[in-house]
């Protein structure tokens, strides 16, 4: 790759990125194959050094992050619309606004690293390998759903992705346990354990952190701070809102969660820390959710429309990243438009499929209650309905 690098200072980029100073590497077609950016400074807790604030982004990666974030945004919009049509019911928690978190983290994960999150799980499910049909059909309760209609919005899983957990904070010890198993089995794998600012006040987080630090477990406790636990703002819920410091003896990093590159770098740094036997780390990723907590929450009683609008206009993770790509010539506007169109098509098709997909057989009501049901008879609603247990297939964690 014969290329030159030049520092371009004067270019007007997105407001959020005004301070950024991109460095470019040109290719033959006039577009850059890579560019360098500065991220917002990280805040550090009990760390001498933090992640690099100057980061390099390849064109290829940039296109992928952009596509993935757009895919999640579109998928969530589609889910919201299906909910309004009453095709999706129950709980439905949308990730719109937080896309840079999961896309940035996924970018630094190795193939054998694990992740577990709370109930706002659609974006993570997608980046861990389930396509939009798998997510949306789970939401419509159809047979292509990734949890075969057993999970819904909060409980989606795939290899190395441990859900999708509905009890606020309960995934934190699980994540420490997944990390314990990674270490026990002699790998240098790391478990990314996500929780919201609401769950940051659950006692079991601190139980898990204590044991993780005692036993040097390779777990990153990641607080996705979107400002509100349901309708309670961080200031009303937390005596300390500096979540990255709340591991006390566990080192922590504060990260701009609206910047996919900052998230990627911080995650790489944290994975290096955990994978080299130094024990756990806390990462606070400051982000924002555009929707309400769930579909029953318009999300406007505890915050103003102006606040939401301001974030959309000044900090949106996709708009910001798009402008960075354009201003640094990592992609052309037409290319990004093509991606947008392609994403729209994929999601439109997925919606059609999720709506028209065949329903799950009623015989699956009794599926996978146990790996080894000793008595395969399962009692139905009345004494007249004796059902039979069914096992659909081997679990991904079984030998």
């Amino acid at each position: 790759m014969f290329s030159v690098t030049l520092r371009c200072l004067g270019r007007q980029v997105h407001q959020q990125n005004k301070s950024l100073a991109p460095l470019f590497t040109y290719s033959k077609n006039g577009l850059n194959t890579e560019a360098t950016f500065d991220t917002k400074p990280f805040k550090l807790h009990k760390l001498e050094e933090g992640p690099a604030t100057t980061v390099t982004l390849s064109r290829q990666d940039a296109l992928k992050y952009y596509k993935d974030m757009q895919m999640i945004r579109r998928m969530e919009t589609a889910a919201g619309n299906l909910y309004k049509e009453k095709i999706i019911r129950g709980f439905c928690h949308l990730y719109s606004g937080q896309e840079a978190c999961c896309v940035g983290m996924r970018a630094s994960m190795r193939s054998y690293d694990a992740v577990i999150t709370a109930y706002r799980a659609h974006g993570w499910t997608y980046v861990m390998g389930v396509d939009a049909v798998g997510v949306l059909a789970e939401l419509t309760g159809r047979s292509s759903g990734c949890a075969r209609g057993k999970g819904g919005s909060m409980h989606m899983y795939v290899k190395n992705f441990y859900g999708g957990n509905g009890i606020v904070g309960a995934q934190q010890p699980l994540g420490a346990g997944i990390a314990l198993a990674l270490k026990y089995q002699g790998t240098d794998g790391v478990c990314l354990t996500l929780y919201g600012d609401g769950a940051a006040n659950q006692g079991q987080l601190y139980e898990a952190m204590n044991m993780a630090q005692l036993w040097k477990l390779p777990v990153i406790f990641i607080c996705e701070n979107n400002g509100y636990g349901m309708g309670t703002s961080v200031d009303r819920a937390s005596a300390s809102t500096a979540y990255y410091t709340r591991g006390d003896y566990v080192p922590g990093i504060w990260v701009d969660g609206m910047d996919v590159l900052a998230v990627r770098e911080a995650t790489r740094f944290a994975i290096d820390h955990c994978a080299t036997g130094k024990g756990p780390m806390v990462m606070e990723v400051v982000t924002y959710r555009y929707s309400g907590h769930s579909m029953s929450d318009p999300g406007t009683s505890y915050r103003s429309r102006d606040e939401i609008q301001e974030v959309r206009q000044t900090r949106d993770p996709i708009t910001g990243f798009r402008e960075r790509m354009l201003s640094s010539d990592l992609a052309t506007a037409d290319e990004l438009k093509d991606i947008d169109q392609n994403v729209r098509q994929v999601i439109d098709d997925a919606v059609k499929r999720a709506k028209s997909d065949k329903e799950i057989g009623l015989d699956e009501l009794t599926a996978d209650i146990m790996s080894n049901p000793i008595d395969t008879r399962v009692r139905g609603v009345t004494a007249f309905d004796t059902l039979t247990h069914k096992r659909l297939g081997p679990a991904v964690n079984s030998p």
Partner: protein
């Protein structure tokens, strides 16, 4: 009366086959007792549990023991004595006092390929951790559409153990048994404890394994050779003809067997069934027995409402209605928080005399 008529019309042939089956059961029990005399040594309940844990841990690197005081202290009740020395700190792990946290860590480890055995110092403390047992361990296989199983054992003592006060004297067997996805095992003797724990550790599903502080010192015969006891199969401890007494856990040796001796002395021949597991429940063995004796008394240490006794009584009235010659009775803990004073405890808990009284009642005999 209906039962009597039914018996009259039942074909002679099937009656003979039934007799023959009984004979073979008796023979197999006698043979097992003969073997036990030849090969077994008497060990304590806690030693039987330790043998089960150690034997399985030697075979499978993925099994580890975790809990409060299990390692350096050698176990709050010395179940894990010496295991730290043999298996090291990687596999015998002392935890801080954080039941919810370490229960969850166990479940996470099980979801990621290990076979944890999590010790609760008592199941009273498991309530702090019950969310991880019910909402994570029991549900994850189903909720994930079959993606993640959870091969884990939660074990520790249950029930009253002397004057420990209301918070340390409770039975939650029926609470856990209520939840699909779990298996619940309550051994009654050292022999049962070893065979059932070995089986539980090898089971691919979450198993709740409930012992008793007061049984840890019980001695019983345990054979030298390796054995497993399948989950979900009740044990007919003693055959009898007059009444079926169903029980599990320490009620068997502490309450039911002494009662059986008292009943014997009065010429009442009780059949005794140890359920061994209360999820799944071996209904068939109970129903078969009730069809023979036509009467049932259930002895259980838990509170009465929604107990295992309630459940089994339901099944018996449903499946053996025509065979019952008396209402089913149960002997349970009084419906009170267990007090401290010994006199009050004696009043509140099942004992042999109370069982005798219940048995005589279903036999319509004067107490």
């Amino acid at each position: 009366m209906r039962v009597f008529c039914q018996r009259l019309v039942s074909p002679l042939l099937s009656y003979l086959i039934m007799l023959e089956e009984y004979a073979s059961v008796v023979n197999s029990i006698l043979y097992r007792q003969f073997l036990l005399r030849r090969l077994a040594t008497k060990i304590q309940f806690r030693e039987a549990l330790r043998e089960a844990l150690s034997e399985e841990m030697r075979k499978n690197e993925k099994i580890f023991l975790m809990g409060e005081e299990v390692a350096e202290y050698n176990g709050a009740y010395k179940v894990s004595q010496g295991m730290l020395d043999e298996f090291g700190a990687k596999r015998v792990i002392d935890t801080p006092i954080a039941e919810l946290g370490f229960a969850g860590i166990g479940v996470g480890a099980a979801m990621n390929g290990l076979n944890p055995v999590i010790e609760f110092m008592t199941f009273n403390f498991s309530l702090v951790a019950i969310d991880q047992v019910i909402n994570a361990a029991a549900k994850v296989l189903s909720m994930s559409g079959g993606h993640f199983s959870c091969p884990i054992v939660f074990r520790g003592p249950t029930g009253n153990a002397g004057q420990l006060g209301a918070q340390h004297s409770q039975n939650f067997e029926n609470w856990y048994a209520n939840c699909p996805g779990l298996k619940v095992v309550i051994p009654s003797t050292p022999y049962e404890a070893k065979g059932l724990l070995k089986q539980a550790i090898n089971d691919p599903d979450p198993v709740i394994f409930m012992e008793s502080e007061v049984m840890y010192g019980d001695k019983g015969e345990v054979p030298e050779e390796e054995y497993y006891i399948p989950l979900g199969k009740a044990n007919v401890v003693k055959e009898g003809s007059d009444v079926t007494i169903v029980t599990f856990g320490k009620m068997l040796t502490r309450v039911v067997m002494p009662a059986v001796e008292l009943l014997n002395a009065e010429g009442i021949n009780a059949e005794v069934i140890d359920l061994r597991t209360v999820r799944p429940i071996d209904y068939a063995t109970v129903i078969q027995s009730v069809k023979k004796t036509n009467r049932m008394v259930f002895v259980e240490e838990a509170w009465p409402l929604g107990s295992i006794a309630t459940e089994v009584a339901f099944k018996v009235q449903k499946d053996a209605f025509d065979f019952l010659d008396a209402p089913v009775l149960r002997v349970t803990c009084a419906d009170v928080p267990l007090p401290y004073a010994p006199t009050l405890i004696a009043e509140a808990l099942p004992n042999a005399d109370k069982v005798v009284k219940a048995v005589k009642s279903v036999l319509y005999k004067e107490a």
